[in-house]
Symmetry: C2
Subunit: 318 residues, 2 copies
């Protein structure tokens, strides 16, 4: 029998799942519409039967664990708690509900922690004991590994680096405060910065022809690659703010590496070069030259989330 | 035989040492003038012979380990590295040098980490796995415990929370940057704030009669206790800035408690009340009400440093 782990990525719209072997190979996958199951019991029934179905297709496979990435997931309690983007309200004991259907270890955590575990088990952080993954998407999430262990904190919700205040009194954040790193350093933050620069700068730019609601990090990165002055300035400013958050992370835990993951990180050198420059210039002097700023080496896209979730499962049974 | 540990606190001027039993009782103590030994070999000879002398006075004692707190100490390497306030230049392999004289486990770390270990082994953090100690003295140091383990980071120098940037472009810091937490939230920061407020406010105050070079946190706390408006405002502002740094710590690692230690923390309620208020108002909403802000319960004064250093030793052999 070959042991495998199921990785599950629960999103507001879709849930993607897959079977992953010890080397990080995705052997089979599938998906469900999360929105089709407003009752958590129906969702658990559909998900567990889908996983069991995938496993039973190959008689040589044995399911060892289920790892789940989900918004507002609490690893310590195995729950999803008050998730604004999911239909299931209150505190949902998802791990227990699944275990009643499939009796293997079930672990869940948020997508940023899953990404960090994916990086540690299958990606560029193999063998590292001190690193941080920043996920730069709609928001800015963080998964932190210290002494070789994921940091969950006393509440189970540690890793809210996106809510470092980098600009006191700055931009409004969804958390109700102002000046949080995620309002500057996420894909959404980059879009906000472009909007500001369109007001501040006189330069002509194709970005002036796109409705603000349709601006994306990808469009801006492409414009920057073509030397659009507003896109370039926006990328540089985003890097500067990201570097401020990264410098505080380094002051706290002195990691070996910081990995950037997700939509904005796909911009590549046009983001990484200024981030590295501003980190070196702005970090506490004793830490100059001690930290690598790296792109995630887990394949990006929907599979990365499934791999990360599966890594959580592998870590549980290793 | 009763096992004991030697705790050593190396300061720029004095070195204090003592024998500490498992319950945190200081059985004997002594001190050396650090400045009398510009050659590290002479210092090691004097220190080890002083410790051996203390131990040999009571034939029932057996030395189990030596724990040392020192500026710029690296736990991972057992070294003191480029300490600007000590005569020994470059990288000093202190643990190895001592082990050659007294063959027991020798560990060293900076004073903030030693304070955190003291809190965990002998103080208010007994049984806690997630907490941070902030030492509010001339500078602002931090000792961080996550998953029950001290955080040293990849370099061995983690825990520079005093160098979070809380005010971009703010006050000059000794590290060469501007706006670091320690320029606002340390005892020295409080003095700077009083100086600013003496320029900004018209209120009469006995603080106007003290030469700036003689102003101390203690004097200011005493004036605040007597309702001096400038001292009160300074204490409130210091608390607000400290709370900003604390909020970022909480966003990172979601601790159970933050302990305040050292000169400024002795101000008591006049500091703790506004710190708690600003932390609750300013922290990422999910963490409201999850963190205790507490005074250190290791006895303050020179003994606290010796106890913290001894706790490092006890932790090593436990």
């Amino acid at each position: 029998m070959k042991e495998i782990v199921a990785g599950v990525d629960i999103g507001g719209t879709n849930t993607v799942y897959g079977l992953v072997d010890k080397s990080g190979k995705l052997l089979a996958e599938g998906s469900l519409k999360t929105t089709k199951y407003p009752d958590i019991k129906d969702f658990v029934a559909a998900l567990t039967s889908a996983i069991s179905g995938l496993v039973s297709k190959d008689k040589t496979l044995k399911l060892g664990a289920i790892g789940i990435g989900a918004p507002d997931a609490n690893y310590l309690r195995g729950t999803i708690e008050d998730a604004p983007n999911l239909a299931w309200k209150g505190i949902v004991p998802l791990a227990d509900l699944i275990k009643k259907k499939i009796n293997v270890p079930v672990v869940l955590t948020n997508d940023a922690n899953a990404a960090a575990m994916g990086e540690m088990i299958f990606g560029g952080a193999k063998g590292m004991k001190e690193f941080i993954v920043l996920t730069l998407g709609t928001g800015l999430g963080s998964g932190i590994v210290i002494n070789g262990q994921m940091v969950y904190g006393h509440t189970g919700f540690a890793g809210e680096v996106g809510h470092f205040i980098v600009e006191p009194g700055g931009r409004e954040c969804g958390c109700g405060r102002r000046g949080c790193l995620e309002t500057y350093g996420s894909a959404t933050g980059l879009v906000k910065t472009v909007l500001f620069l369109l007001s501040d700068m006189r330069a002509d730019s194709p970005l002036r022809n796109i409705p603000p609601s349709e601006l994306t990090a990808k469009t801006i990165a492409e414009a920057a690659a073509k030397k659009d002055p507003i896109a370039l300035k926006a990328m540089d400013y985003t890097a500067e703010k990201l570097a401020m958050g990264i410098a505080d992370c380094i002051a706290f835990s002195s990691p070996e590496a910081i990995f950037l993951f997700g939509g904005l990180a796909l911009a590549g050198d046009i983001l990484f070069k200024p981030v590295r420059k501003y980190v070196e210039a702005g970090v506490f002097p004793n830490f100059k030259g001690t930290v690598k700023i790296l792109p995630s080496s887990v394949p990006q896209g929907s599979n990365a989330a499934v791999l990360g979730a599966a890594a959580m499962g592998w870590n549980e049974i290793k």
